[in-house]
Amino acid sequence: LLLLLVSFTFIHCDSTRSPRPSGQIDTPAFFDRAFVMRFGRSVERVMRKADNSNGSETPTRVHVAELKWNSTQDILIISLWLLLACIAKLIFNRAENLTKIFPESSLLIALGLGIGMLLENSRVDKSRFTLDSHMFFLYLLPPIIFDAGYFMPNRAFFKNWDSILLFSVVGTLFNALAIGFSLYGLQQLFSFTRSFTTFEILLFSSLISAVDPVAVIAVFEEININDFIFVNVFGEALFNDGVTVVLYELFKQFMVLDEVLPIDFAAGTAAFFLVAIGGLIVGLLAAMFTAILTKYSDHAVILAPLFIFLVPYMGYLIAETLSLSPIIAIAVCGMVMKQYVKGNVSATAANSVKYFTKMLSSSSETVIFMFLGLSTVSTFQSGWDPLFIIATIIFCIVFRTIGVILQCLFLNKCRGKKFSMVDQFILCYGGLRGAIAFGLAHSIPSSVSAKDMFLTSTIAVIFFTVFLQGSTIRPLVNLLKVERKEISEPTMTETIYGKYLDYMISGVEDIIGQKGHASLVHDFERLNHKVINPILMREHAKTEHFDATKIVRAYAKIILRDAMETTTEGTIGRRTTMRKEDGDTSSIARKRGGRCSCETDQSDDSVDHNPRCPLSEANLEQLYAIFSKMFDEKLDQIKELKKIEESDDESDEICDDYMKQARRGSIMPVADDVAAARRETRLRQVRPSPLVHPIEEERARVNSRSKSTINPPTKFIHQ
């Protein structure tokens, strides 16, 4: 029904385009689309009436209701497409058998293809539903790139900056030139259906050689690959936009010149630097501006998320206006902005930013892929040249492989972390083409006679990479036993020791007088702290020394996770004591057993918690605010506790009564004031308070599930 409604809007729009004399309606054309019209002739008539009433006929009677298609049609169509796309995505998420084989992106393209063929038969004006480059580059692409930049693993990125730079600049250049010249050479041997000049084919090869960030995200995110490979492929995809855009524009201009002088090549090289570095600068400025704005937005808290979205988007638009690389601008902005903004906005605002970004980018991605499928139908009219397409695909694969191997050979000589053969294979295989290539292909000037051939080949290559490579990458990754991203819970140990090792290596590098990675990071951290943070971050968020906030945040998250685990599980494991050597106050260590019962099987991807489960991300962060206050109070009380000894035996059982438990476990009498404090906190738990509500809810749920009851006060105190 949705589809039909959509088709109606198209049909009606189609009919409103050409002015009709009143009373004469193009009946035969309408009747041809009979199968579409079967369900809504009456609607059609009403629409006609509405059309006529706006036209030259004078209305004779007062209308009870009118259909105002003209005023709402554009936005209605857009919303309908978005809704359709998202519902489709929802359905695909349910159909697990399908998503195990094909990546979601390919399914969306298939859906778009299906709809396209449906609408094709209704002879609707085709230009209405092709992927408009303008709309794509200005509205659909920015949220995806911003999301990618904001959630980029910065650490892995900066560790691999050399390889990313090499791949994106040299690799793309090599690919573009190699593919272009090979195709040109091939043309001399066999002739294709359309002929092209050198620069025309170089134009084509420059857009087809670019790895597409949208496709990479779509496919790689599902297979959860380790950060190292992901950051290399994705970093390359993101930053090769600088090269692609420059080459594209360059060859476009070369095409119209009579002869190409060396000065033009020099201009091209200069343009590359300008585009890339200009984009970088715009991104940095936007990031700084956002940080400053969020710093001063503490009185109007609701504005902070707005700034976080608006300023990078404006950066994108400004870069686009100045013909710099907008993708680099918005990606850099997202990456740089993150740490300063996180210190300036409240937890709720940061949360809302996170979810909204994900929502925008997810819906954009969905719409892009669907439109890609849709546009295929309309563009696949002419210019279908199998030989050219096959040649392009083969050259793409071959040259990418050669490029990756050569570059990795060079890199492995100079780097600590080397690219293994498996890594290199995944790098080659992850060279997916996507919508950006299509958008660029669409905007090839029509003066190029081979445009339709280029267009169809671009589509064919995109389909090939997304369908074939996208669907086979998961089994390949499993087969080659590529290291997956560890979705383990962070331990305090890793956070602290990680920092510790950084400082240590930085120090040793200083001793031997070498400026390696660690000491550079350390220098930047000091610069950050002294100069940048005071400007961009709020007063109270500034750290005295070096970055303590990360450790404290990690600690808070871990404690919260523990607390939630014990709320949901029915057992508390063995309680043991830990005595200090000098024997005064001790804290209780506890081994926790059991898992959250809503964890799905962990053999594949990420652990997915039930949204109501306290261990899910959303609830965890929500509860952090509640718990952090409580823990501070409780820990004061711990300090007054005496030793509590081991209780082995049936310690799996938890007492109903807290006092009974304490008595069972302790040999020493519990201090009076502490007992009073415990009683008080227990009462506080029982007393209904809005803060504790989710915990009450959870406890009620668990109590109904398990036999033994859980004693929150025990847990809190013993934390």
Binding site: G416, T493, L501, Y503, T576
Partner: protein, 194 residues
């Protein structure tokens, strides 16, 4: 033992050191010139102050611990003053060489690196990291911005995670186990310039 005050490095010495530590000639020569520049008093060995005088080390929160570790691992104690000659200097630095995964001694390489890290923590050199020692390190790393309460909590938590036998302190084995998931070979490697 090479504790001579001669400032010239002889070829045989370079060869011996190269065999011992798997640095190549160029790296050793470069390290030697660095050694000389650190040895401002031209004594032929380094003392603690020489290393502590490195300006970047002064702002490193673990600076003095690193220096301490250097001397503990390889220094001689003469007249109550710790001394480090060039050969010992290079030997300590050999810990930070990238581990060659093809070689079968990768297990040793990892343990050696962890040994260095452990020694930096273990202030009183009794082979265990106690909670107090840990708190000192933590304090120097995260500074005075977090409250003592938070510091205690974090320290307790970290010790608890690593302390397998629950004796309240961390032995070298427990330390190694805690660092299992960290890619030590990669994190603790420095590419020495030629």
């Amino acid at each position: 033992m090479g504790n001579n005050s001669s400032l010239m490095l002889r070829d045989e010495e370079i060869d011996v050191i190269s065999k011992e530590t798997e640095f190549n000639r160029n790296q050793i020569v470069r390290l030697y010139s660095r050694f000389l520049s650190l040895d401002k008093k031209a004594q032929g060995f380094l003392e603690r102050e020489d290393l502590l005088n490195v300006p970047e080390l002064a702002v490193n929160p673990l600076g003095d611990r690193i220096v301490d570790a250097f001397f503990t691992l390889a220094g001689d104690e003469i007249d109550n003053e710790k001394r480090l000659n060039f050969r010992q200097f290079v030997r300590v630095l050999a810990f930070f060489q990238p581990v060659d995964r093809s070689k079968k001694n990768s297990l040793n390489g990892r343990r050696d690196k962890l040994k260095f890290a452990f020694i930096m923590y273990d202030l009183n050199k009794n082979g265990y990291i106690t909670r107090e020692e840990f708190k000192v390190i933590l304090n120097s790393m995260v500074g005075a911005n977090i409250t003592t309460d938070q510091l205690d909590k974090i320290a307790d938590r970290t010790i608890e995670e690593a302390d397998v036998d629950h004796d309240g302190r961390i032995s070298f084995e427990e330390f190694c186990k805690a660092m299992e998931k960290t890619d030590i070979e990669e994190k603790m490697s420095i590419r020495f310039l030629n």
